[in-house]
Symmetry: C2
Subunit: 150 residues, 2 copies
């Protein structure tokens, strides 16, 4: 019996229900995919993974729904491929609260949330009112640095 899988399934269902979302196959699979890996995912990544099972349009709409409900957040990119990552509990229906920065590895091309690094407070020129600060760091990630040493 797949005990672990069953418990993940429950967790996923709970997450969806908490946001008053219908529990559908596509939503479960896509959410599962996010939980199964540590990084951020683009629409393309998800389509490659489940594109034969679900329609492209369904994936677009699912991602949009997840963003709206505060399950995932978007991460800007320099390559026209917006990525999505799971939110922490503070986010919810219609609002996001994120203070962390994002890291893009130039070697493995994965994107990660660095939850422990808080976005800095910036002094802007007179007249500019900041509402949200997004920090995107490019470099070499932990895994790639470690495997390089071996």
């Amino acid at each position: 019996m797949p005990r672990v899988a069953a418990s993940t399934e429950k967790k996923i269902t709970a997450l969806l229900k908490r946001q008053a979302l219908s529990v559908t196959e596509s939503r479960k699979r896509i959410l599962q995919y996010f939980l199964d890996q540590p990084g951020a995912l683009s629409h393309g990544d998800i389509e490659k993974k489940v594109g034969t099972t679900f329609d492209r349009v369904t994936i677009y709409r699912t991602l949009q729904t997840f963003v709206d409900r505060g399950l995932i957040h978007t991460i800007p990119s320099a390559d026209n491929a917006v990525r999505y990552a799971l939110c922490k509990d503070e986010c919810g229906d219609g609002h996001h609260r994120h203070e962390h920065i994002h890291f893009v590895c130039q070697q493995c091309h994965h994107t990660f949330c660095l939850d422990e690094v808080v976005t800095p407070v910036l002094k802007l020129p007179k007249g500019y009112s900041p509402r949200q600060v997004e920090v995107l760091v490019q470099g070499k990630c932990k895994d790639c640095t470690e495997t390089a040493k071996k």
Copy 2:
């Protein structure tokens, strides 16, 4: 006689020549467009402006060339529309040096380089080596704040 226009023309030609680029109509017009306004431009913006005169493909290639030669730099976005802005003199063929942050106005949707705001130095978790830091601030820009007051 269009004295100003003529001097701009010379400036543009000089900019192109400095990077050992052929001086062509499309390159002049696109560079002109960047100089004529203070913000950042997306491929779409440029196509709207000069798309009847020049082919879409030419615009793509021109932008890529300008990036390669250090004339313009890319600005990541959260909406799958990478923007480009003029570089300062420190950039050149094959290398970019940018320490400034970018500001996206949520009202007028323009993107600006805030050259006077330097990207912060961040303390990253062990194992992560940063190579480049990109800061994207969203909020209300100077112009939109001022016009709102009236």
